[in-house]
Symmetry: C2
Subunit: 478 residues, 2 copies
């Protein structure tokens, strides 16, 4: 795949900016620009950091410069939080300073559908191109690069650094995905909220992510990109190296109406989009949770080509209904839950005994409530079968804790985690929400810390498994 080396270098200069200036920071600590400045410092950004405001002064102990020219050193990235009336002058200053890129939190352009502001947005792009720097936005929350300690949207916290590159026409969705990531263990190489994308669009970020050695999985949220043909072409190219996971918003008439007011997007038919995305090889998702589910699976399991699933449920009790529910959820998504071989069945009988147990697959272990040894034996036996590709442990924390108490339930989980680390087969845990949510969250965080992906329902786990295996079945190689 040929990359535009200039563009890669341009985006590297932004994601790894050595210095950042926030336009619109001011003495007033509650202004967005001031908060943004404070956030970047709090997140641990190591480069030079400046506030910009004609009235000067200082905020949070940082000096505010009256303009870019007054800043002593070079500035790579400018973050604009100023009113829209000032953006063209700011761009002229940026040109004079020789910056590499500017992101505009500033909004009120194409998305208003007002001719004047549509024209201003076009002029913004023209000025940046003329001067050789790039624009992210306007009407966006900009970029984040966790490994370089650039937080997202002036947050004081950094997402975990990892392999997922996320670009989105909604800044809110990026933010929410990063928040979900803190709980579920998603880790990101780079993120970008591209807003109206007057200069850099989805196709550009896609090209960058495809070339970026830190990015192994590419995720997008799209509404109605203006560069659709190029974008689809770049998805196809990127997909030959890294999976591309796309959520297309505005897939209904009501949704499309909302995109028009949001990013000023014109909606194409959802069927056309689905078809085009499939042809480009992307994994299509229908929402944020589904996208997070797929990303988590790709991140933790990598290449998953087949998914004959072995399911363990009824840990302490309730396994009969859980077995039915789990099998239904898998089968509804086209995932095979193969019956046990005679050998495996005999081993299960040895470990668990007969009475009341469902010893097909899913395996109901509730005949041995709290018997950690038996549970570990079941896990190990199933992991050693050649006809199962993935193990799912369905764990109802409510019942675990009601039966065993919190301490023993957590001990059981630690034993499971230790066992899973010895297995060569991927293991996924389902922890359905219920009545003891703080304990469930604690259990989730322990599994996640051990690299075991956790799903809130078998339905969602099954759908993610199906999406990923279908992707590889289609012959995708990344």
């Amino acid at each position: 795949m040929l990359h535009d080396k200039d563009k890669i270098a341009q985006l590297d200069a932004i994601f790894y900016a050595r210095s950042i200036a926030v336009a619109g920071a001011s003495r007033n600590e509650s202004k967005m620009g001031s908060l943004w400045l404070k956030g970047i410092r709090a997140a641990g950004f190591k480069g030079d950091l400046y506030g910009l405001n004609p009235s000067g002064g200082e905020v949070f102990g940082m000096p505010i410069y009256p303009n870019l020219e007054a800043i002593p050193g070079p500035v790579d990235l400018v973050i604009s939080c100023i009113p829209r009336t000032g953006v063209l002058d700011l761009l002229d200053d940026c040109a004079a300073k020789g910056i590499k890129g500017i992101e505009f939190f500033t909004a009120g352009f194409r998305e208003t559908a007002e001719p004047h502001w549509i024209e201003v947005e076009k002029e913004m792009a023209r000025r940046a191109r003329r001067s050789g720097f790039r624009i992210i936005g306007p009407n966006c929350i900009g970029i984040s690069c966790p490994e370089h300690a650039i937080p997202y949207g002036g947050s004081t916290w950094l997402p975990a650094a990892g392999s997922i590159g996320y670009v989105s026409q909604s800044g809110g969705h990026v933010g929410k995905m990063l928040e979900i990531g803190t709980t579920r263990g998603l880790a990101f190489s780079k993120c970008a909220s591209m807003g109206n994308g007057c200069d850099l669009g989805g196709a550009d970020f896609l090209e960058y992510f495809a070339a970026d050695p830190k990015t192994q999985i590419i995720a997008m949220y799209l509404e109605g990109p203006t560069d659709a043909r190029l974008l689809l072409d770049n998805i196809r190219k990127a997909n030959s190296r890294k999976p591309v996971v796309v959520w297309k918003g505005g897939r209904t008439e009501a949704g499309a109406r909302a995109t028009a007011g949001h990013t000023g997007a014109l909606a194409a038919s959802p069927l056309v989009w689905s078809g085009a995305l499939a042809q480009a090889g992307a994994i299509e998702c229908q929402g944020l949770d589904e996208q997070a589910d797929v990303l988590l699976l790709l991140q933790q399991f990598g290449r998953l080509e087949r998914a004959n699933v072995g399911i363990i449920c009824g840990i302490t009790d309730g396994g009969g209904g859980e077995a039915v529910l789990s099998a239904d959820a898998c089968a509804s998504e086209g995932i095979t839950v193969p019956p046990l071989s005679k050998d495996t069945h005999a081993r299960m009988l040895d470990i668990l005994g007969q009475v009341g147990s469902v010893l097909v697959n899913p395996i109901d272990v509730s005949q041995r409530p709290g018997d950690i040894g038996a549970l570990l034996n079941v896990i190990e036996s199933l992991a050693s079968t050649p006809y199962l590709d993935v193990l799912v442990i369905y764990e109802n924390m409510d019942i675990l804790i009601r039966f065993l108490g919190t301490a023993m339930a957590m001990e059981l989980n630690q034993a499971v985690i230790k066992k899973c680390k010895t297995l060569s087969k991927p293991v996924l845990v389902v922890l359905p929400p219920g009545g003891l949510e703080p304990d469930r969250l604690e259990a989730e965080s322990q599994f996640v810390a051990a690299g075991i992906p956790v799903y809130p329902s078998m339905d969602r786990a099954a759908r993610a498994i199906a999406s990923v295996t279908r992707y590889y079945e289609r012959g995708n190689k990344p």
Copy 2:
């Protein structure tokens, strides 16, 4: 609808048992029977409570009687936790004592597919019928009646008393629904895990719930009932008075295989079941979460005949993507998100201003971050429009707290709750999971305490709204 008055009286005598004996309680405190006995007392059961074990003694300060005959007073309900080899003798003792009902936690009968134990199960039913008392189970967790302080499965806690009657072929699913209820605010009249249903089956409980004045909503989990024809007939009859919400497990081949090991059910084709349930007028759900979602809506909103939905999002930020996501979710379920009238749109402009806002429907209020007054004005304005039936407030707690801090975010929620109490229109809140889960759970509990149903995603809220409105659109009157 004609009810079998005898059966109603028989089940009343069980759900409102004046005295309970637990067979299989023993000096050993860790035995299931002992724990069950302890749980019922801890839950606050006011009637007489006895342990039963040939070896006598006492446990947790309660005397254990060697047999039923030795108990001084009458016994209404027996809970059997003894091994299956003793059940026929126990039933003879029950007959002699003149009990009203017995529930068998004891398992290992029809579900094993072993001819001997299938025959024993049949004999159990015969003996109970001969003696005029009823059996729940075997292979079940039995009943709960929160208002009468009978907990579920020997739990030490009671579900909230309310209007939902739940009967299930999976004891685990009942337990999980009750746990979900503690978080989401579901409240129950009665529950029954019917297990193999050798005597009392789903049709019987359905008939009872239809007649029971405390039950206003009926919920079922079915695998393969042996009394399918009668059950469907009773669903049809019950449905003329109270909505019946059915989840059918074993709707796939893999799921059906699991039902065979669980309740010994024979699966009919899922399409046949779906058709029959639709014809009987039931609301069909595909899983536990979906069933909880529908029950919550029925419980909080009652009769919901139309659902033109008004959606408020972007509370402090991120509203553009949330608007698209919400509209897509509704439209995908066939729910109308009507465009605002010119009047309402003008009012929204007055309150929120133009720049960056999505002022169609969904309404993005993010132009006024943290402006509680503006938010309440938007809520009140939308509630007063005649063309909206339900309001949805989409609230991303992560962003609320990152922008406003926890205290002000909670204050905002309290103001919303206070406002909602003055409205005549139903309001539903969506609180998607993310990074600040403990705070989100706290917010959920506050909304729930105020009677406002909370959903974890717009997809799930939309599906529940669609299920309930379609139910009433079909001409159901309850």
